[in-house]
């Protein structure tokens, strides 16, 4: 009996060891499979590629790509006959092509671009009972997008961005390039060997902001004056047509070699006087200029959900006067995208508060909501009082561009011409109406005045869709 009792005691210990082994096995299985099938596809692009490739190969024979609708529910891209991929009619197939992009799988690798690339898991892999993918509703206004592409950007290389002032919803983001990319025909996209032709210009083109940066320089100066109770004389400057920053032999000139004499901020802003802003930037100082740029999220990545991340930078180097001066009037080392410039305008339009930009409003599979955007603020960029003064300046500038209050209502704008590498010139007009902000951006132009008629037409269309 004693032996059996000893044996029982041993058996209890062995059972406990077996329990531990079983627990370890279950833990290993759970962790291993959780990592492989759940965590890896969420954190690793190669695992996600494996998952999507397997899924795509499996469903391509029976799944139908989901519809893509505009802000009013009008079809941009939808099923066509027995085709498993959605189809876009003209002119949407061109005007939306850089926004929509593509999703393909070839040789075990997935190739993605634009919304169709990043939303493949909903458009292609979230099927309803009829094996149709989810429906994606965008914030884009189809009419505006088509108009911007076919009428305003015709024969040009550039982009037009329109963002709702209050919500950050992107109402238009069209891009035109040296190739005619048809979203139904991937070959039309891949065939081009023109450098940069495959970029969506509004979100990928990182160039100096040109004179549009004067909005920020002016904001920094107004803030300094308000905080330090500086007299009006702070804003006066005697312009001789040239300006050489202290400690350098680099001479700054005004556009078209203009000479303006003694001028204040209003005149300088309306006429975009480079020498004035170069001097003002030096007087403001490196720290305040950088602080304002940071407040407008220059140097901070801004994500547009499902589309891309906007990158930008500003670099004043060692703070030499010449570098500050260059930056202050829009050259220097600052790089920014046209959509980010439109966001800066949106912040000024929205009492100094920048909203998160978004282009996907909602995603639904049948009646089941899969995604719904909730408006949110990126943050306050400037105070209300600085914002009010900026609006005065930008409204005067807009009048100068032919955006007359009597014709277009209250419009606020600032033009810019940036000298880029390889003698390329990038022209902009950024601004806003009572409802929406915009950035018209054009490559290989000569002067921003070439964009006046485009901006006037764009503002007219914006007013129309907002019922003004």
């Amino acid at each position: 009996m004693t032996n059996r009792r000893d044996n029982n005691s041993l058996a209890k210990s062995r059972i406990r060891i077996a329990e531990l082994a079983a627990m370890a096995m279950c833990l290993l299985f759970t962790c291993g499979f959780g990592w492989k099938y759940i965590i890896s596809p969420a954190v690793s692009s190669s695992a996600r590629g494996t998952k999507n490739t397997i899924t795509y190969d499996e469903v391509k024979g029976y799944a139908f790509e989901g519809d893509i609708l505009d802000c009013d529910g009008a079809v941009i891209m939808s099923g066509y006959g027995n085709s498993h991929t959605a189809y876009a009619y003209e002119p949407e197939c061109y005007s939306f092509s850089y926004l929509l992009g593509y999703y393909t799988v070839a040789n075990g690798r997935e190739n993605t671009y634009g919304l169709r690339g990043s939303l493949a898991d909903r458009l292609l892999f979230y099927l309803d009972d009829d094996n149709k993918g989810a429906t994606v509703s965008l914030t884009i206004d189809k009419g505006l997008q088509n108009y911007a592409y076919t009428s305003l950007l015709a024969g040009q290389e550039g982009s037009i961005t329109v963002i709702d002032n209050k919500t950050g919803a992107i109402r238009c983001l069209t891009s035109r390039s040296t190739i005619s990319y048809d979203v139904n025909d991937l070959e039309s996209f891949l065939a081009s060997d023109v450098p940069g032709a495959q970029f969506r210009r509004g979100t990928y083109e990182n160039d100096p902001p040109g004179s549009t940066f004067k909005i920020l320089t002016a904001a920094a100066a107004i803030e300094k004056a308000q905080q330090e109770n500086l007299p009006d004389e702070f804003f006066l400057f005697n312009d001789a047509g040239t300006y050489t920053p202290e400690g350098s032999d680099w001479m700054i000139t005004n556009w078209n070699d203009g000479v303006f004499g003694e001028i204040d901020l209003d005149t300088a802003f309306k006429n975009s006087v480079n020498c004035y802003f170069a001097d003002l930037g030096i007087r403001i100082g490196q720290e305040r200029l950088l602080k304002t740029a940071k407040a407008f999220r220059i140097g901070t990545d801004i994500e547009i959900p499902f589309l891309c991340t906007l990158h930008s930078k500003t670099d004043l180097g060692d703070g030499q006067p010449v570098t500050i001066a260059q930056t202050a009037f829009g050259q220097g080392n600052t790089e920014i995208t046209p959509v980010h410039l439109a966001l800066i305008a949106q912040a000024v339009a929205n009492d100094g508060v920048m909203m998160h930009p978004y282009v996907v409003k909602s995603i639904n599979s049948g009646n089941m909501p899969l995604y719904r955007h909730i408006n949110s603020r990126i943050g306050r960029c400037i105070s209300s009082s600085v914002d009010a003064r900026l609006k005065e300046l930008m409204h005067q500038a807009a009048e100068n561009y032919g955006l007359y209050e009597g014709t277009y209502g209250m419009v606020y704008a600032k033009s810019g011409t940036a000298e880029c590498a390889n003698d390329r010139v990038h022209t902009y007009i950024v601004g806003f109406t009572e409802d929406a902000s915009f950035c018209v951006s054009m490559n290989n132009g000569h002067a921003s005045s070439e964009l006046y008629w485009i901006t006037q037409a764009l503002v007219g269309y914006i007013n129309q869709i907002y019922g003004r």
Binding site: N8, E19, C26, K51, Y126
Partner: protein
Amino acid sequence: MLFFKSKTDEFESAEAAEAVDHSDRYVVTSILLEVLYAGILFLKEPSLALTYVYALIPMLLITAVFGTYLYNRDADMKLFGAITKLSASGIALQILVDSVYHPPTTFSLVKYGISFVFLFFFLVFYNLLKKLLNHPFMVWLTLAASAAVYIVLAVYGVDPNGYGTTAWIRIAGYTVQLTDLTKICAVLFYAALFSSKHEYTDAGILKISSLFFFVNLLGSLWIKEIGSFFILYFLHLSILLIFMDHNKTKRIYILAILGASVLAVGSAFVLYKWMLPAYNAGTLNSLQAMIWPYIKKIYTRFSITANINMDPYGAGYQLLQAKKALWMSGLFGNTVNFNALPIAESDMAYVAFVSNFGFILGFYLILQFLRILLSGSELSRSLLRFERQDSLVVYGITVVIFLQAMMVILGSCNVIPFAGLPIPFLSRGNTYQSIVFAFSGLLLQLSMHKNPVVEEGGDVHDEPPGQQLAG
């Protein structure tokens, strides 16, 4: 809780009562899970939810009534919770399987009713047999019963599914998988062997258990049903390892069995390479032709596990489809209506479950199987103090359920070589389902007696009360 006897009355302070027992929550969580499946099925397809409701009503009743009964008798409620949750998962899955995969048979609630009837008969049978189990002749009787099962199958066995094995017999139009009865025989055999009035020597235990082991090996080879033998193989080793005295002979024996297993697999690979040319040329001699199917099966199973793409549209097809399903499953189930999963109602039930309900619930099922193992093991440890025979039965049952579940789950997920067996609670298969229900019922019944009644002057403790397990 309404109907639950208050277990707090006997405690003087509320804090003490609070610390003791909240096991009624396992009944509640089971009911919640059963209702949750109705919601999930409704989201997938409203008609499925309606079918499920027919099963849900008796399921809720059974959970509530038996849950209350067992709770009031101090049974292991964690074990009860795991069993009911797994059963509900199996029923929800099987209803979905009919709609998604169109298997050769259809889900039947009546079969679950039959399983319950079998459960009651089994409990009566065990309680009668229990008194005889420590008689020496029971060792030989269970051994003979096992052998008889194989002989009956060799003579009358049928292969209704075309799997190449004759593990079923047909009775009045119904097919019964008799090999599942060998698992009952095995559990009773080891209980009889280790609790016999005739205390066997170590050598005696090894000889008799080896005889049982080889009867099952030969019988399995005879009817070409290797899968079930794997369960008995691990049961044999684990029972010897745990319940036999610690000595050199046992260690050598177990190492020899493991070594022989490795050698057998290695030999199968060598023989496969050696015999393949002759097989292709059609020149196998009679002995080679007899062993070729086994050699090929072993070679294929291990090779496919190592490299699933070796034969993606042949031997590896099932596992390849399972792998695709797992990749597409996500946290809440696949979204692409993937339905190309073979044998989703049985061997691939776990993969089908994950594919349709997602990894969150999939991992939850693993935890429930682990819960059964832990509860069974603790119950076995607890019973060892005063009822060695019951302890062995409990441990045997626990190992059979847990091992079969994990072997098939890991096999279908291509972690280990795949054995085509049903998964406890999840798979379709009335015979096996009945046996799993019977085993579960016995575990719950024995868990009510985990604390012995101490008679006046009696002593059943072999350790200080402070070290006794709560079960």
